[in-house]
């Protein structure tokens, strides 16, 4: 070992890099959030070729590259495709831990929406359960205008039907759409 290294203490420089970012949402994404903000309506966008209804909406179909502009209203209720209960806290989480994330396929949409789940009994969480959007009181035009999704209370008689929703297989539907929920 070189002599100069003897007894040398490592120096560590701490820096916090702070930058404000301002992202333009563009017309399509803006419309999606404006509808939620002003009407509490969730919109999807349909591909004229694949017939897939995308939620969240975007202006190009990634699968066939068609421009998208056919808006469709989708339900504020849907089926939980998957979920997780997050136990570790991070500086970027919007709520204290433990918090629940899920991917929800809203009725009328062919893709899932990733969001928060709340007001749910951990033990009763399951893939396939019905959930509904809870909107924020003071909405500002972003994804947290939907506060979270919560389980839909259902009576025993209804359960069978609603936990196993029929998945419409659309003609010419793209990958993912044909699969079972």
């Amino acid at each position: 070992m070189d002599q100069w290294l003897e007894g040398l203490e490592p120096i560590v420089e701490h820096q916090d890099l702070k930058v404000p970012y301002r992202y333009s949402m563009g017309a399509t994404t803006s419309k999606f959030f404006i509808e939620i903000r002003d009407q509490k309506k969730i919109l999807g966008i349909r591909c004229p070729k694949c017939k897939v209804v995308f939620v969240p909406p975007r202006s190009t179909c990634g699968r066939c590259f068609s421009p998208l502009d056919k808006w469709v209203k989708v339900s504020d209720q849907g089926t939980l495709q998957t979920y997780t209960i997050v136990h570790y806290p991070t500086p970027v989480q919007p709520a204290p831990t433990p918090l629940i994330y899920g991917v929800i396929k809203l009725d009328g949409a062919d893709t899932g929406l990733a969001h928060l789940i709340n007001e749910a009994d951990y033990e009763k969480l399951r893939v396939g359960m019905r959930v509904r959007a809870v909107f924020k009181e003071e909405r500002v035009g972003n994804m947290l205008d939907i506060l979270y999704f919560k389980p839909v209370e259902i009576s025993k008689g209804q359960r069978k039907k609603s936990t196993r929703p029929k998945v419409k297989v659309k003609k010419g539907g793209a990958r993912g759409v044909k699969r079972k929920a």
Partner: protein, 388 residues
């Protein structure tokens, strides 16, 4: 050390957004999509005809970590080969070179390259400070302007280059931009106006410096067989060379002598058989981040001897009607969406070779060169030709 590729590769199409200081009407993916669609239209191709997509930007400028992933819908890379290559200011030329290598490897027939930046969405100077060494440079660094200013002062001191000579670059390039529908700054200026513009950091004034732009550029590289079917006059890639350098500004002479460009052009000229660049090229698109840089790059690229950049400017040789028009597009001084900027140089050189330059077309372009600049005073060079 580099050689020409085994297989011939050509640029068959380009697409650019209309670059602006701000594009609030589109999000990042939509802006990328705009360039991609224009590029496909230019080639009369559909996304299905593309084998792979190579994309890049300056990650911290927009705080977007995985641009290649987010952009899948807009870039058309769904279930295709995709790659992200980022090298700072040279990102655009690194991507163009990647398009070349992809196709030259024989593994791909058609590859799209996409460079973009939406500078209005972040803080450009802050983003540039991110690229300074955290221990040695960040406290003093003031974005790009400071580094150019500190070494431009040394460049003037060493060779007697004047602020007037530099100002002529701003006048020339922004006037050229009047002919380019995609350019961001299109101005009919006088030398006086440039000299009197606001001092940013001596000797750099507002009009000596490139703008910050929102924009994207896409190109399609194709194999010989495909290129001939797609495009009547493709721009063949004859040489591509990259040179990187030591990490600190203080290690280098910066604007005084861009040795990476000197080394890269020497090798590229050897590959392409260029003896006298001023005569052998019909047009050049140089990545000139500030006015002083264009003068210095003339020297490094061998258009003139060391310290003679100012004189070459005075001679008028690099004007639209000169011996070697430099930056008919308006250059970086007119448009600077960083991740796209170096690709725009290559695209504009290709446009000239393909004869698609419209009002900015230089007559009878057979051979063109384009350069990229960035990183730690790094350079890329590409040479394009009408014949393979």
């Amino acid at each position: 050390m580099a050689r020409r590729s085994k297989r011939n590769v050509a640029i068959v199409a380009t697409g650019q957004t209309d670059h602006r200081s701000k594009r609030p009407d589109v999000n990042i993916v939509e802006m990328i999509n705009e360039a991609v669609r224009r590029c496909l239209d230019d080639a009369h191709m559909t996304m299905e005809d593309i084998d792979g997509v190579v994309i890049g930007n300056m990650e911290h400028f927009e705080g977007v970590f995985f641009t290649e992933m987010w952009s899948v819908d807009g870039a058309g890379s769904f279930l295709k080969h995709g790659m992200k290559i980022t090298t700072g200011g040279t990102t655009g030329s690194s991507l163009a070179l990647a398009g070349y290598y992809h196709v030259a490897s024989g593994l791909f027939d058609t590859v799209m390259t996409i460079g973009w930046e939406k500078q209005s969405e972040g803080e450009t100077t802050a983003g540039l400070i991110f690229q300074a060494d955290p221990l040695w440079e960040r406290a003093t660094m003031s974005g790009a302007i400071g580094s150019f200013a500190a070494s431009a002062s040394a460049y003037m001191h060493k060779y007697g280059i004047t602020e007037e000579q530099a100002a002529k670059v701003a006048v020339k390039n922004r006037k050229n931009a009047l002919n380019n529908p995609h350019a961001h700054l299109k101005l009919d200026l006088t030398v006086e106006q440039v000299l009197k513009s606001k001092m940013l950091a001596y000797p750099i004034k507002m009009l000596d410096m490139c703008p910050t732009s929102d924009g994207a550029c896409a190109m399609i590289f194709a194999s010989e067989e495909r290129a001939k079917k797609i495009c009547p006059n493709p721009a063949w890639v004859i040489a591509g060379v990259t040179r990187h350098d030591q990490p600190f500004g203080g290690d280098l002479e910066m604007v005084v002598n861009l040795r990476t460009l000197r080394s890269a052009t020497e090798e590229a000229y050897k590959i392409a058989g260029i003896k006298d660049p001023l005569r052998d090229f019909d047009v050049a698109e140089l990545y000139e981040p500030c006015t002083f840089a264009e003068l210095s790059w003339y020297e490094a690229a061998g258009f003139c001897g060391p310290g003679e950049g100012g004189k070459l400017m005075d001679s008028g040789a690099t004007y639209m009607d000169g011996e070697l028009p430099v930056n008919p597009s308006g250059g970086v001084l007119s448009t600077n969406c960083i991740g796209a900027t170096a690709m725009i140089r290559v695209a504009e050189a290709a446009i000239q070779v393909m004869g698609k330059g419209g009002k900015r077309q230089v007559p009878n372009v057979n051979r063109a060169m384009a350069t990229g600049f960035g990183g730690s005073w790094w350079s890329d060079v590409m040479i394009l030709s009408k014949t393979p």
